[in-house]
C-alpha cells in the first residue's frame, strides 16, 4: 500500500466535509471494521512506488478509550493534513506512508487494536474515520500501548528499513501508563498469533526498536494524566527514557509529531521550535525540549 501521493485539494475537501459533523457522525463505526481488524493479518506493507520512491513508514497509534477519542477527532478534522503536508514540506523524512492504529485495553475492550493500511494520500483520512471509538478502557491505570508495538514488530513489512536500513516511526498517543506486559492469551485472541509466553514491555520495546523509532506522546489534558502526571511520566520515562513527549494541547499533535521526527533526524531543536508560530511553538518546546537526535552511525565504534 501507499502507492498514491498526497493531494492538498483532496484534503481540504475532506476536512470541509467534517466541519459541521459531530464526533459520532465522523466516527460512525459502532464495532470494529473488518478492514481494521488485526486478527489474522499477516502483514501491513509500506512499499516504495513510482510516486513514493523512498517511502518512510510512520505509525500513529491513538488511544480510543474514554475521552481520548478527542485525539482521533482532531486528527480527522485538522491534524492529519498538517502532519502530512508539513512532513512533505519540511522533509525530515521522505515520502511518508502513514498507518493509523486505534488502541484500547486487552483486558476490558473488544477491539484493543485497530489498524489501517499504510497510505500516502487521502485514504489515510478515509480509513481513520473507520476507527471505532470504543471509549472503553478499565481501572488498571494503563492501556495496551504495547500491542501496536508487537503488531509493528511482527506484522509490518516496511521498505524504508528492509531496503535502506532506515527505521520507521511509531508514535503511541494517550494519557495512561504503559502496561507491564502483554499476555500471550491477548496476542492469540486479538492477533491470532500463538506465542509460547507473555512478553514484558521492555522485551517488546527491544523487539520493535529493531525496525522503528519508538515514541510515546502523553496527552496531558487526559483525565488520568491530570490525576497523576508524575506517575504517568515517570513510568513512561522508565521505559522509554527521553523518548517520552508531553503534549499540552491535543490540537497540536500533528506539529509535535513532525517536530519530533525533525529533531530525531538531527535537525537543530531550537530552530525546529522557532519554525512554528505563537502558541504552537510553546507546545512544541514543551514536547521536544529535551529530545536528542537518534544516533546515526551504524558502522565503526561507539564509545561510552
Amino acid at each position: 500500500m501507499g502507492t498514491a501521493r498526497w493531494d492538498a485539494t483532496d484534503w481540504s475537501a475532506y476536512a470541509a466535509s467534517t466541519t459541521h459533523k459531530t464526533t459520532d457522525a465522523v466516527f460512525a463505526a459502532r464495532a470494529i471494521d473488518p478492514e481494521l481488524n488485526p486478527l489474522g493479518v499477516a502483514l501491513r506493507e509500506s512499499r516504495d512506488s513510482a510516486l513514493n520512491p523512498a517511502s518512510t513508514a510512520i505509525i500513529v497509534g491513538l488511544d480510543v478509550t474514554g475521552s481520548m477519542g478527542m485525539i482521533a477527532d482532531t486528527l480527522a478534522r485538522q491534524g492529519l493534513g498538517t502532519m502530512v503536508e508539513e512532513i512533505l514540506a519540511r522533509q525530515p523524512v521522505s515520502d511518508p506512508h502513514i498507518l493509523i492504529a486505534g488502541i484500547g485495553d486487552v483486558l476490558y475492550d473488544r477491539a484493543p487494536l485497530q489498524v489501517t493500511q499504510f497510505e500516502a494520500d487521502i485514504r489515510i483520512a478515509r480509513q481513520l474515520e473507520k476507527l471505532w471509538l470504543e471509549k472503553g478502557g478499565g481501572g488498571n491505570a494503563c492501556e495496551s500501548y504495547t500491542l501496536p508495538w508487537y503488531f509493528a514488530a511482527l506484522h509490518t513489512s516496511i521498505d524504508c528499513f528492509e531496503k535502506r536500513g532506515q527505521k520507521g516511526y511509531l508514535f503511541t498517543v494517550g494519557d495512561e501508563e504503559p502496561p507491564a506486559d502483554l499476555p500471550a492469551a491477548a496476542i492469540a485472541r486479538f492477533l491470532g498469533d500463538r506465542v509460547a509466553r507473555d512478553f514484558d514491555s521492555r522485551e517488546l520495546l527491544t523487539l520493535v526498536s529493531r525496525q522503528y523509532h519508538i515514541f510515546h506522546v502523553i496527552v496531558e489534558e487526559g483525565s488520568h494524566a491530570r490525576h497523576d502526571p508524575h506517575g504517568v511520566r515517570n513510568r513512561w520515562t522508565d521505559l522509554l527514557g527521553q523518548r517520552v513527549i508531553s503534549l499540552s494541547d491535543h490540537r497540536k499533535l500533528a506539529e509535535v509529531i513532525v517536530s519530533t521526527i525533525e529533531v530525531n533526524e538531527g535537525r537543530d531543536r531550537d530552530r525546529v521550535i522557532k519554525s512554528w508560530s505563537g502558541k504552537t511553538a510553546v507546545v512544541v518546546r514543551r514536547a521536544v525540549g529535551a529530545l536528542q537526535p537518534a544516533p546515526t552511525r551504524n558502522v565503526g565504534v561507539v564509545r561510552f
Partner: protein, 346 residues
C-alpha cells in the same frame, strides 16, 4: 632492490595509492633508493613528455605512503604481513585473507589470526588482553571443552602505530563472514541451526564467566564445518563483566542491544543472546528478520526464536533452543555435513 625501473607509466599508475608494497621493498633504505631510481626516469625535468607529471606525482604519493607504513611498522605483501615492533624485532605473519574490521585489520592464516588494532584503541586492546588472560574454568574437564572455542594468545606486538594480537586457530576454523560471503549471503537453515547451537554454548560459558562479549558476530566468530563447533576469537575488545560499565561497542551491536541495556550501558548477557539471534537472521539472508517468514527461510519455530527477544539467562535460552526449538523445527537431531574448507574460501 625491486626492478622498479622496468615498469611502464600505465603499470605504475595502476598501483593503488594504498598499496605501495606492490612497488617498493619493505626496507626504508631500499625504498629510498628505488624512489630515487624512479625519479631519475619520471621526474618532469628529466622527461618532459606528456603524462609524465602525473606519473611522478603518483610515484611521490606512493613513496610517502610507503614511508608512513614502514615507519608505522606494518608492511603488507601478498599473503605475508611484515610487522616491525618498537623493540626492533621483525615478525612475518603468513595469511590467506585480510579483512578490515572496525578497529583495524585482521589477517587470517591457517593456524593464527592476527588482529592489527590502531593505537587510538589501545585501551580496548588492553581490555581484551586482560579479559582473555583471566577467562575462568571450573576444572580441567571444562577447560578441555571450552578452551578450543576461546582465544589462545600466541603473541602481542607493539608497533609505532598499532598493536597486534596474534591468536591461535586450527586450520578447520573459518571466519563466519567469509563463509557467509562464500554462500552469497544466505545459508541453509540446517547449517545455521548447528552454528546457533554452538554459539549458544559459548554464550552459556560467557554467562558462567559473568561476562558480556558485546561483539558476537560474523567478524568475531569462526566455525569448523567438520566438527560443527565454533570459536569466538575476535571482538574481545568490548568485553566487560556483567553489570560493569561498557567502554565501547561496535555500532552494529547497538542496533540489537536491548533498550534497557543501552540505557544503563552495562555488560549484560542479553546483548550477546540478541546478537546471536541477529547473526542467525543474517546467516539466513535477512538480519532484519522481516523477510524470513515470507520467504520461508527456516521452519516457523526457528524463525520465532530468531525474531523474539532473548530471555535473561543464557542457560534457559540454550535449553529452550535445544529441547524445544530444534526438535520442533527439524525433528530428531542428526549431523548435517557442510562440505567446506579453507581451500574453498581462500
Amino acid at each position: 632492490m625491486n626492478p622498479v625501473t622496468v615498469l611502464s607509466a600505465e603499470a605504475l599508475l595502476g598501483i593503488p595509492l594504498a598499496e605501495p608494497e606492490r612497488l617498493f621493498s619493505g626496507d626504508a633504505q631500499q625504498a629510498k633508493q628505488e624512489f630515487r631510481a624512479l625519479a631519475a626516469i619520471w621526474h618532469p625535468d628529466r622527461r618532459p613528455a606528456a603524462g609524465t607529471p602525473q606519473v611522478f606525482q603518483h610515484l611521490s604519493r606512493l613513496y610517502d605512503t610507503a614511508v608512513r607504513k614502514l615507519r608505522g611498522g606494518l608492511w603488507n605483501l601478498p599473503g605475508r604481513l611484515m610487522v616491525r615492533a618498537t623493540d626492533g624485532a621483525t615478525y612475518h605473519i603468513h595469511y590467506r585473507k585480510a579483512r578490515e574490521f572496525e578497529l583495524g585489520q585482521m589477517f587470517l592464516g591457517d593456524r593464527i589470526v592476527a588482529y592489527v588494532v590502531d593505537k587510538a584503541y589501545s585501551d580496548l586492546f588492553q581490555n581484551a588482553l586482560e579479559v582473555i588472560n583471566h577467562l575462568p574454568c571450573a576444572n580441567p574437564q571444562m577447560a578441555a571443552e571450552i578452551q578450543p572455542a576461546l582465544p589462545d594468545i600466541v603473541r602481542q606486538i607493539e608497533t609505532e602505530d598499532s598493536r597486534v594480537l596474534v591468536v591461535r586457530k586450527t586450520p578447520d576454523l573459518l571466519l563466519l563472514r567469509d563463509v557467509l560471503d562464500h554462500f552469497s549471503g544466505r545459508l541453509d537453515a540446517r547449517h545455521v541451526a548447528w552454528m546457533i547451537s554452538s554459539l549458544l554454548h559459548l554464550a552459556c560459558y560467557l554467562d558462567y564467566a559473568r561476562l558480556a562479549h558485546n561483539a558476537l558476530g560474523a567478524d568475531a566468530a569462526l566455525i569448523s564445518p567438520p566438527q560443527h563447533r565454533s570459536a569466538l576469537l575476535g571482538g574481545w575488545w568490548y568485553a566487560v563483566r556483567q553489570g560493569q560499565p561498557m567502554r565501547a561497542a561496535p555500532a552494529a551491536t547497538l542496533q540489537y542491544t536491548p533498550c534497557e541495556v543501552i540505557a544503563r550501558r552495562c555488560g549484560d548477557i542479553r546483548t550477546d543472546l540478541e546478537l546471536i539471534r541477529a547473526l542467525g537472521r543474517e546467516l539466513l539472508g535477512d538480519v532484519t528478520g522481516a523477510r524470513l517468514a515470507r520467504e520461508k527461510a527456516a521452519p516457523p519455530p526457528m524463525l520465532d526464536w530468531l525474531r523474539f527477544p532473548a530471555p535473561r539467562s543464557a542457560l534457559d535460552d540454550y535449553h529452550t533452543w535445544q529441547r524445544r526449538v530444534l526438535t520442533a523445527s527439524f525433528g530428531e537431531r542428526r549431523f548435517v555435513k557442510l562440505d567446506l574448507s579453507a581451500d574453498d574460501l581462500y
